[in-house]
């Protein structure tokens, strides 16, 4: 269980998150929605440890992690698929995947077959350089690389941004499969409602650095959510 409570986050003197709280249970997909610039990525940066918070608490599996460095949170099973993917362009696909080994003990350092079941395309491209892949393929690689870490919480930042519709479907199917396995908490940031609605049990809508609407999907009024995402 990930529990974020009353978190503030600043960039210099500018405030990006104000008193934000949310929870993600193992086996659940929690989707963070909102227009651009409302604080979704800042929220993820707070969770994974890419930016320090200025107030509040972040607990993972019962322990306070908000002061732990990013690599220590990665060792505790938190994987991040950043916006823009951050694939290493000069490393091969295989080498990119192997960077996920950093958090594993020596005995665990092998590429699980599961990732090639989820993303068959990667198996045929192991020797290609990351930078030579298409945007959609890079996105699949970034998710696969996160899964190599055997995460118990995976944090995905707009995995569908700028990606062709057929690969968006593939990515949606993979997130649904991970959810069905039930051993992972999934925190997904999306700008688009339809993709989120198909996957999320819980939806959290942000505006101006705060949470303006949150609840189980079935309890939320769809028109209300849509209204807050539009201009």
């Amino acid at each position: 269980m990930l529990e974020v409570e009353n978190v503030d986050l600043h960039y210099g003197a500018a405030i990006a998150l104000r008193q934000v709280s949310l929870a993600v249970a193992v086996g659940d997909v929690t989707c963070l929605l909102g227009r651009n610039g409302v604080g979704k990525t800042s929220m993820l940066r707070a969770v994974v440890g890419a930016h320090p918070i200025s107030a509040g608490s972040i607990r993972w599996e019962g322990q306070e992690i908000s002061r732990l460095p990013i690599y220590e949170r990665a060792r505790r099973g938190i994987a991040w698929v950043p916006q823009g993917r951050d694939v290493f362009p000069l490393l091969t696909v295989k080498e990119n995947l192997e960077t996920g080994f950093a958090v594993l003990s020596r005995g665990e350092r092998r590429l699980p077959d599961e990732i090639f079941d989820l993303f068959p395309i990667l198996k045929t491209m192991l020797r290609r350089r990351g930078g030579d892949l298409s945007g959609g393929q890079q996105q699949q690689l970034a998710i696969a690389r996160a899964l190599v870490m055997k995460p118990r919480l995976i944090v995905l930042d707009e995995p569908t941004e700028g990606i062709q519709p057929s690969i968006i479907k593939d990515i949606g199917r993979v997130i649904a499969l991970l959810r069905a396995k039930g051993d992972m908490a999934i925190l997904l940031v999306e700008q688009y409602f339809d993709f989120a609605q198909e996957l999320a049990q819980t939806m959290v809508v942000m505006d101006r650095g705060t949470i303006v609407l949150a609840g189980r999907r079935e309890d939320l009024d769809e028109a209300d959510v849509r209204r807050r995402l539009s201009v």
């Binding site: 003197a13 405030i15 339809d194």
Partner: protein, 248 residues
């Protein structure tokens, strides 16, 4: 040549980066004295549009006509700034070790060479000008504070004040209220309305409550072109706009 009331005219402006079309035959007209809000999803081309107007990026095709007949695409950044187009980037970039007063003094039009730096005192006219800007930007009581000691919102106002010191005809303001408190955001809407009495303004913003408070014509960009244009109520009811924000 454009209509006498036209301040800025982007005519079929296209910009590509590595095959990606950041602006796709973008056309847009602003009249003199207008304030325009520009919104749009990530990658819509908002920043690239500002880059083209200020000469930071040169378009592949298209013209940018300013004040009747000046084609901005033929000028470099300093020349465009000297024409009276000022730009406020998103992050505050005031001189933090200097006082509010000195920041504004440095920004005033005039000789800023070594002689000035060593010997000059501000003139009475310059002092009046700085006083007026302090009043506009709500910084009267903070003139002796160092830039570093201002709140985030006050830094943004100071930087807007530094732009005003250069007497621009057109101000381009990129996400001024990001990171501001609610009260500062409200104040900023009033501040820009006051500035708009004497100057034209383009504001790029994500904060819809703020855009609504400005009460001006809104241009929605999407994939490098104008998707919709009109009052905030008009664009927020436009099915094309709803689709790109809720999308796919």
């Amino acid at each position: 040549m454009t209509d006498a009331d036209t301040l800025l005219y982007l005519d079929g402006v296209t910009v590509t980066f590595d095959g990606f079309r950041a602006l796709n035959a973008l056309s847009l007209v602003m009249t003199k004295g207008e304030m325009r809000a520009v919104i749009g999803p990530n990658g819509a081309g908002k920043t690239t549009m500002m880059d083209v107007i200020t000469g930071k990026t040169r378009p592949d095709t298209g013209k940018v006509v300013f004040d009747r007949d000046t084609d901005l695409t033929r000028l470099d950044e300093p020349a465009i700034a000297a024409l009276g187009i000022g730009r406020k980037f998103q992050k505050p970039t005031v001189f933090e070790p200097h006082t509010v007063w000195d920041n504004l003094l440095l920004a005033l039009e005039g000789d800023r060479g070594p002689r000035f730096s060593l010997f000059a005192r501000e003139t009475a006219a310059e002092r009046r000008r700085i006083e007026a800007i302090l009043e506009t930007t709500r910084l009267m009581d903070h003139r002796h504070k160092r830039g570093a000691d201002l709140s985030h919102g006050q830094k943004q106002w100071l930087e807007i004040g530094m732009l005003l010191a250069q007497e621009p005809q057109l101000l381009l303001v990129d996400e001024p209220v990001a990171g501001m408190t609610d009260a500062e955001t409200e104040q900023t809407a009033v501040l820009l309305q006051e500035i708009n009495r004497t100057r034209s303004v383009v504001v790029v913003e994500h904060d819809m409550a703020f855009v609504r408070a400005l009460g001006v014509k809104v241009t929605v960009l999407h994939e490098g072109a104008v998707l919709s244009e009109g009052s905030i109520d008009f664009v927020s009811d436009d099915p094309k706009v709803i689709e790109v924000y809720l999308g796919r």
